[in-house]
């Protein structure tokens, strides 16, 4: 176990080359030798020089550069494209040695590097140098013309490095065919970095691989590298573990109803994909997002791959989205470019740099699918994913548009963009009754509730609106069909209103008739009653008259009229009891 503990103690000299220090766990082995191998144009010199310059600039370590192949003036001139300010560094902390052997020189017998190493040793002491680069050592070794002697000189350099304690970088050209001549060097040194240059479909791909690293853990895969204005950049495959910070903050989409459909807008730092057929207003939605962000004062970057910045501003103005004031104030950065070749690694490196320069909180890439045709190359698909991971790491909210005719196209899956997207909004055309209308659907939205309804997106001079889509007879109605349907509904309602009014009136008439009829009947009842009363009265008086007549008759006859009296009393009833009945 002690053995491993000692190995872990290898100290690292950071190269400052983005990504490289990540895959090697800190940089080059301190006080040891690293061999950088590669064919012509792979970036060996840039790699070595960058490690030296970054050591001087970032770690304040003086360094030396021994150039066997190019003149030091050429090297300084070439490096001026990287903005490292070499001349200033050369004065203070860097020493360049032109170690080219004059081709005119005559060789008679064997020679060695003793003199140069003596010189470098003295310089290193004077400068306090910590790092040294031997660039293009193969050129010098070639002059020795004897493998045994070459090996001897390499060992001399290695021993000298070990003795001085300098961190050494030796670059060496290798042909495309395996070159066994110098393979011993790979065994000799502590760290081997291989750079590879490959042309696929006419486009250049550069890769870096750490082949060997004594006493240290390292990522042994081939990583894409690109040359940017800051120098060489290695794209790491993102963090081993995805643990980006997440935010619960919501930011408006720029369209109030869409915010509502997403229950509050996009998540801060999320990745939004707006897909759709050509002309479905993908750019318009992106523009809405950008203006809303700018209006909040958030720095925003609008990257376009198919339209110039001025054209975008003009087109969005037609739907009353005005980007111009934000561009003028500098809050909004516009960057329009074209995709260049199948290697989009360089393109993403370029974008990364622009993102770092503008420091946006919101980013629009319109359309990301311009790159996706190139994404068939695995390296490029990786690059896209890594770029989006980078944005996520920076907490930048990004809206990508993607040209896509259907929802389940292979394109969406092969690029992997759809899986990276946190929120996916799909825009489509619905062709119906001779017209095309735009429909908006939220395919997915991680971590937010969202409406499952299709909405109609309408663009006009007044701006962008989302309208409910009507369902009728099992169909979604849009555009004129929706308008017609609405009109028809209104007419039908009016018809119903009128019809019900009429019915009410008719009923009122019937009711009135019934009431009237009731009145007639009542009156008739009263009339009958009256008639009956009249009849009763008439009958009563007649009886009385008869009775009185009988009284009169009896009195006249002086007879006993008892039975008749009883009969008369019954006939008169309870109305008037003749008092004479009681008297008996």
């Amino acid at each position: 176990m002690k053995f491993y503990a000692r190995q872990a103690a290898v100290t690292k000299a950071p190269t400052g080359i983005q990504g490289f220090d990540e895959i090697t766990g800190g940089g080059l082995p301190c006080g040891r030798t690293t061999l950088v191998l590669g064919g012509p144009g792979c970036g060996k010199t840039v790699f070595a020089l960058q490690a030296l310059v970054n050591g001087a600039r970032q770690a304040n370590e003086a360094g030396m550069f021994v150039a066997f192949e190019e003149s030091t003036r050429q090297i300084v001139a070439n490096a001026s494209t990287f903005g490292w300010d070499l001349p200033a560094l050369v004065k203070k902390r860097l020493f360049f040695l032109d170690a080219r052997l004059d081709p005119e020189v005559v060789r008679v017998g064997d020679f060695d590097l003793g003199g140069m190493l003596a010189l470098l040793g003295a310089k290193a002491k004077a400068l306090g140098a910590k790092r040294i680069v031997f660039d293009g050592i193969d050129v010098l070794l070639g002059l020795l013309d004897d493998p045994a002697k070459e090996r001897l000189e390499i060992y001399r350099i290695r021993d000298w490095l070990a003795q001085t304690g300098l961190t050494g970088i030796i670059t060496q050209k290798v042909g495309y065919t395996e070159d066994h001549r110098y393979s011993f060097m790979q065994f000799m040194v502590d760290c081997v970095v291989v750079l590879r240059h490959q042309v696929v479909d006419g486009s250049a791909f550069r890769h870096l691989r750490v082949m060997k690293y004594r006493g240290s853990d390292f990522a042994g895969d081939e990583f894409p590298i690109s040359l940017t204005s800051e120098g060489l950049q290695l794209t790491n495959r993102g963090p081993r573990e995805l643990n980006h910070e997440v935010s619960d903050e919501r930011i408006p989409t720029g369209l109030a109803r869409l915010d509502h459909m997403l229950r509050g807008g996009y998540h801060r730092g999320s990745n939004v994909l707006i897909s759709g057929a050509p002309g479905t207003a993908k750019s318009t939605l992106s523009g809405l997002f950008a203006t809303a962000a700018c209006a909040r004062g958030e720095r925003t970057l609008y990257v376009s791959f198919d339209e110039g910045a001025n054209q975008i501003v003009r087109n969005l103005r037609s739907v009353s989205i005005d980007l111009a004031p934000h561009v003028a104030s500098g809050v909004l950065g516009m960057y329009s470019t074209r995709t260049r070749g199948p290697n989009i690694e360089d393109q993403f490196a370029d974008l990364r740099e622009r993102v770092r320069a503008h420091r946006p909180r919101c980013l629009v890439i319109d359309p990301l699918s311009a790159l996706s045709t190139k994404l068939a190359h695995l390296a490029s698909a990786d690059a896209a994913q890594q770029f989006l991971d980078f944005l996520k790491g920076e907490g930048i909210t990004v809206v990508n548009t993607s040209l896509m005719d259907g929802l389940n196209t292979d394109e969406a899956t092969t690029t992997g963009i759809s899986t990276i997207a946190d929120t996916w909004i799909h825009l489509s055309y619905v062709v119906q009754d001779g017209e095309r209308n735009r429909a908006l659907t939220i395919v997915k939205s991680r971590g937010t509730g969202h409406s499952n309804q299709v909405r109609e997106l309408t663009l006009s001079d007044d701006g962008v609106t989302l309208t409910d889509v009507f369902m009728a007879q099992g169909k979604a109605l849009m555009g004129v069909a929706r308008w017609e349907w609405e009109q028809e509904q209104r007419a039908a309602q009016e018809r119903t209103t009128v019809a019900s009014d009429l019915k009410r009136l008719q009923l009122q008439v019937a009711q009135a008739e019934a009431v009237a009829r009731l009145q007639v009947v009542q009156t008739e009842i009263d009339a009958r009653n009256a008639e009956m009363s009249v009849l009763a009265l008439a009958t009563g008086s007649a009886n009385r008259l008869l009775k009185s007549d009988q009284e009169v008759l009896r009195k006249l006859r002086h007879g006993d009229a008892e039975p008749a009296k009883a009969r008369a009393a019954i006939k008169v009833g309870g109305r008037r009891k003749p008092h004479h009945v009681k008297t008996h």
């Binding site: 170690a99 060789r107 017998g109 590097l113 003793g114 140069m116 190493l117 010189l119 003295a122």
Partner: protein, 109 residues
Amino acid sequence: VADENLTMSKPTSVVPPEAHPAPIRLRLYVSGNAPNSVCAIANAKAICASHFESRCDLEIIDLVAHPLRAVADEIIVTPTLIKLLPLPVQRVVGNLSDTTQVLLALASA
């Protein structure tokens, strides 16, 4: 081995003095007592003695002792012999093991 100025006095040249009337100035850069350097010093001295007689001024500079001289004179490998005079300046690298080639190089141009 430190700086060493040697003036050879033995007149054993095969070249007639009339052909090379001008003096010859040579400077040899070596690194300590490395085998090639030791070899070159011996060879240089022998060539001067046998071919240039008293006209030859050979200066030997040890870069281990004076490393910064290498920067000024742009010396990368050792041993390096420079013919300063007569002009043009001519360089020969190596341990000077082949006398004929050394003489050819110094006489050329």
